[in-house]
């Protein structure tokens, strides 16, 4: 009997992309339900009543929300192509870096993106500090997961796409190949890996979306 796997996502959500990649890496067949965030479906709200967000994975009728929780679930429910390492210390470190990405890196990069002038300069300081930690973590490794893409690569994968887009919109270099050579190389390697590359959202659509978001945020802040 087949398993029913459904993924609620939006076309642009970097968190949902993590799940797309994981499902593809493990060669799991699934159905996609695209959501419009301004008009969420009753199914999504039923599956994720607490947060009402994407992604949500529905496996044989049971919903799981929160992308890092979903990734761990996928790794436990389907044992092929493991995403997390075996050793408990390494697993703890992988979870730590994924959490660091969400708790610190994302917010600090976003701050740089939505600010201007002196405020933007100031926002660069914590952003660069956070990126330097990631640079250190890549020492001696091709991917955060080692020789192959793993949990942390999927968790931080948004960097490989979004950074370039945001840099283009604000006209500011955030990941400089000279200052952050390992991170720069990882963004290239990860971004070009077959399963990853096939699933990036349409670039021009992303540029329009994030330009609009930046403009709206700046306008709201100046009121």
């Amino acid at each position: 009997m087949g398993e029913e796997v459904k993924l609620f996502r939006t076309w642009s959500s970097p968190f949902a992309l993590r799940i797309v990649w994981a499902l593809r890496i493990k060669a799991i067949e699934y159905e996609t339900v695209f959501e419009d965030i301004s008009n969420k479906s009753p199914s999504l709200l039923q599956c994720n009543p607490v947060h009402g967000k994407v992604p949500v994975l529905l496996h044989n009728g049971r919903p799981i929300a929160e992308s890092l929780v979903i990734l761990e679930y996928i790794d436990e429910a389907w044992k092929q192509a493991p995403l997390l390492p075996v050793d408990p210390h390494e697993r703890a470190m992988a979870r730590f870096w994924a959490k660091f990405g969400d708790d610190k890196v994302l917010g600090s990069i976003w701050s740089v993106f939505i600010k201007q002038g002196k405020e933007q300069e100031e926002a660069m300081v914590p952003a660069m500090e956070n990126l330097k930690f990631l640079e250190e973590e890549l020492k001696g490794k091709k991917f955060f997961g080692g020789d192959t893409i793993g949990f942390v690569d999927l968790a931080l994968g948004w960097l490989a796409n979004l950074i370039g887009l945001l840099e283009e919109i604000v006209g500011l270099k955030v990941v400089d190949g000279e200052k952050l050579p390992l991170l720069s190389a990882w963004m290239q390697e990860f971004g070009d890996a077959p399963i990853i590359k096939d699933n990036w959202p349409a670039r021009d659509r992303m540029i329009l979306k994030f330009q609009a978001l930046r403009d709206a945020t700046i306008a709201a802040a100046s009121k």
């Binding site: 679930y73 436990e76 408990p88 210390h89 730590f96 959490k99 930690f133």
Partner: protein, 220 residues
């Protein structure tokens, strides 16, 4: 000979208590190193150079972030498991633990600390989130089922912090009237021998919190 397990923590930190409880439940011998948060020791700063916070568990290598440490403990000392076996149940436990740390506490802080004109709405939101957590208990004695598990340990925030904040901020969120099931869980949880042993006295926590928040309280 194996290096001793060390836990860097702080007496009033409920996040540190989470780790203590888990280690004691598993019968792991460890050394507790009390940190002065105004004057953190170099070893702690080395072990958690990124966040510079407690708790940090050191078992040959340092691990930071309390809910990550809890999983590490469960994987390293598998007897008396604190996480369920089934992947879906594990996912639910992780979801709700993150919910407590990333949503419930912040929403509740807003409710405790909001100005009078905004407080009604903030309280309503916090109660909505508390209700969602209470519903997760369902018919069970503990979040972990018949015994204390990972989510109960994570929910120590609910068992302790809410009571402390009620005294300090003079706002009650976790009322008997609205949350009879969650209140019942709190009573059972704090009554467990290991939890009782680890939780500092409420009066001490209240005093500590009053001092911590003294500038905030003075500005109101």
């Amino acid at each position: 000979m194996a290096e001793e397990v060390k836990l860097f923590g702080m007496w009033a930190s409920l996040y540190s208590r989470r780790i203590e409880i888990a280690l004691i439940m598993k019968g792991v011998q460890f050394e507790f190193i009390e940190e002065d948060l105004q004057n953190k020791c170099p070893l702690l700063l080395q072990c958690n150079s990124i966040h510079k916070k407690v708790p940090v568990l050191h078992n040959g290598m340092p691990i930071a972030e309390s809910i990550i440490i809890l999983e590490y403990i469960d994987e390293t000392w598998p007897d008396n498991p604190i996480l369920p076996r089934d992947p879906y149940d594990r996912a639910m436990a992780r979801f709700w633990a993150r919910f407590i740390d990333e949503k419930l506490i912040w929403v509740s802080w807003d409710a405790y600390s909001s100005k009078e004109e905004d407080q009604g709405k903030a309280i309503e939101e916090a109660c909505k989130q508390l209700k969602a957590l209470e519903n997760e208990l369902k018919e069970k004695e503990f979040f972990g089922g018949d015994t204390v598990g990972y989510l109960d340990i994570a929910a120590i925030m609910v068992a302790s912090w809410f009571g402390v904040m009620q005294e300090v901020m003079k706002v009650e969120l976790l009322t008997e009237e609205n949350f009879p099931i969650l209140r019942q869980w709190v009573e059972k949880f704090v009554d467990c021998p290991i939890v009782k042993e680890c939780l500092p006295h409420k009066e001490k926590m209240v005093e500590f919190t009053r001092v911590l928040l003294k500038d905030f309280l003075a500005s109101r």
